[in-house]
């Protein structure tokens, strides 16, 4: 399950941020490592919600700053 989640999360990150797949490792920070700005991260969270059919509250969204954070949240809550 979590591998599947990680793959889907990474695919979304690659598409939305236009970055090389190889750079989207679990520890990568959206802003520090992948060139996102604060609006990009808002949109990323919306894309995760769409992909996984869930709702990510704002206070939880603020804590999703790396690929691993996203995988963890989705694995635990969906």
């Amino acid at each position: 399950m979590s591998n599947d989640v990680a793959d889907r999360v990474k695919k979304i990150v690659v598409e939305h941020l236009g970055v090389e797949e190889s750079k989207v490792v679990n520890s990568a920070s959206f802003i520090d490592d992948l060139g996102a700005d604060s609006l990009d991260t808002v949109e990323l969270v919306m894309a995760f919600e769409e992909e996984f059919g869930c709702e990510i509250p704002d206070d939880a969204a603020e804590k999703i700053v790396t690929v691993q954070n996203a995988v963890d949240f989705i694995s635990e809550n969906v």
Partner: protein
């Protein structure tokens, strides 16, 4: 006053992408007006428009990949994409790259739009209604704002000088070039990227202009015949989309770096009708005063003008009124000709003035005047001036004037001159 010259040209229009390609098709008498594609029009009175042809650059078509990276595209309404593309072409054509921060401070952008992100707003409103506020993109607002063409271009190229955007409906492009030239004349900048961008050929845009009874509705089965300025069969304007941008530069700045100089911005006149939101006054005094002011600023007389690129939208009322004002001001100038390039590409609203200023500069540079397509039977009231019907004419053009008139009664005239 410092002198301002044009050193770069860029354009995206219904005749394609790139000034040279568009110009050759224009001179060839080709039309960019077609049956509308991409959205439902069966219930709309007007079903034709000039839409930007998408395809390979080598074929003269618009390839978005050359201008905006994939990841940024969904953040940008099409009007911003068109504006960025025209600006990129103009900047590359000019060869201008600020060599240091001081040069960045002296380079600015003034690209406006008549309506702005209409498609983004329309889609955003539907999304809000259907799925609620949480589904609205964080990029919705910066995708819709008119000044975001200027903003995006400045960010992309590091231009830190004046950053501004004109919004004067169909006069936008002309006002942008005139106002940006003044910023250079007044020493607020040395280089300005100026122009207009529009992408209102969408269901809401067409339906809206249909509601105000402004669009042609009688040529849905013969789209290329729909835009016919001064012709007896005209019945409204045809919508177009695209963008035009020029690089304006202080003369000595351009000379010092050996830039190609296309021509000089010598005159600019503005006026207001103070009459009606969509109709000009019958005597055309607003247009007359804008043209007079532009001639005065240029320090020339009416007999010095060789070519007028008319506002000429193909509306029953507007064409005759502009014609009357021109005749009143330029009567006796036997060397004058006037054409409407909207006959080939439709009315690009906020981009029109910029696109038409570029056509005027090309007419000067190439010694060819673009035709007024579909002008088969001029109205009785539109006779006595060479309106360049149907086919381009070779003529020596030293000075050209370009008119733009907008809803709200806002008028602008530019006077452009060969550089010698």
């Amino acid at each position: 006053m410092r002198r301002v010259v044009i050193t770069g040209l860029g354009m995206v229009s219904p005749l394609g992408s790139g000034v040279d390609h568009i110009w050759s098709r224009l001179i060839n008498g080709e039309s960019g007006i077609n049956k509308i594609e991409g959205f439902e029009v069966s219930d709309l009175p007007s079903q034709i428009a000039g839409q930007v042809p998408v395809g390979e650059t080598a074929d003269g078509k618009f390839n978005v990949e050359e201008f905006v990276p994939l990841k940024d595209r969904r953040k940008l309404d099409p009007f911003i994409v068109f504006g960025m593309a025209a600006a990129q072409q103009a900047i590359e054509d000019s060869g201008w790259e600020p060599p240091n921060e001081e040069s960045q401070f002296r380079t600015g952008v003034m690209i406006g739009s008549g309506i702005g992100g209409l498609q983004a707003i329309a889609n955003g409103a539907l999304l809000l209604e259907e799925k609620g506020p949480r589904k609205l993109s964080p990029f919705f607002i910066p995708s819709a704002l008119i000044n975001l063409v200027s903003g995006q271009v400045s960010i992309k190229y590091g231009y830190k000088g004046p950053n501004h955007a004109v919004v004067t409906a169909c006069s936008t492009g002309a006002h942008a070039i005139g106002d940006a030239a003044r910023l250079i004349m007044l020493d607020d900048a040395d280089v300005m990227i100026a122009g207009g961008a529009e992408a209102a050929v969408c269901r809401l845009g067409i339906a809206g202009f249909c509601a105000s009874r402004a669009l042609s509705s009688g040529y849905n089965d013969a789209p290329e015949k729909g835009s016919r300025p001064w012709d007896q069969g005209r019945d409204g304007f045809v919508m177009g989309e695209g963008a035009g941008a020029v690089v304006l530069e202080e003369l000595e700045h351009a000379k010092a770096r050996g830039a190609t100089i296309y021509g000089e911005v010598v005159g600019y006149g503005l006026s207001g009708d103070a009459y009606h939101i969509t109709a000009p006054p019958a005597d055309g005094n607003g247009g007359f005063r804008a043209m007079s002011a532009a001639l005065k600023r240029a320090g020339i007389s009416a007999s010095d003008v060789n070519y007028i690129n008319a506002h000429g939208t193909s509306t029953p009322l507007g064409d005759e009124i502009e014609f009357g004002a021109v005749k009143r001001l330029f009567g006796g100038n036997d060397n004058l000709c006037m054409s409407s390039t909207k006959s080939a590409i439709g009315h690009l609203l906020g981009a029109a003035g910029a696109v038409e200023a570029i056509f005027s500069i090309k007419a000067i540079k190439e010694g060819v005047v673009p035709p007024t397509l579909n002008l088969e039977n001029p109205s009785e009231e539109c006779r006595g001036i060479n309106l360049v019907p149907l086919e381009a004419q070779e003529r020596k053009i030293d000075i050209a004037l370009s008119n733009s008139f907008g809803f709200g009664g806002t008028n602008a005239s530019l006077v452009l001159k060969a550089f010698r």
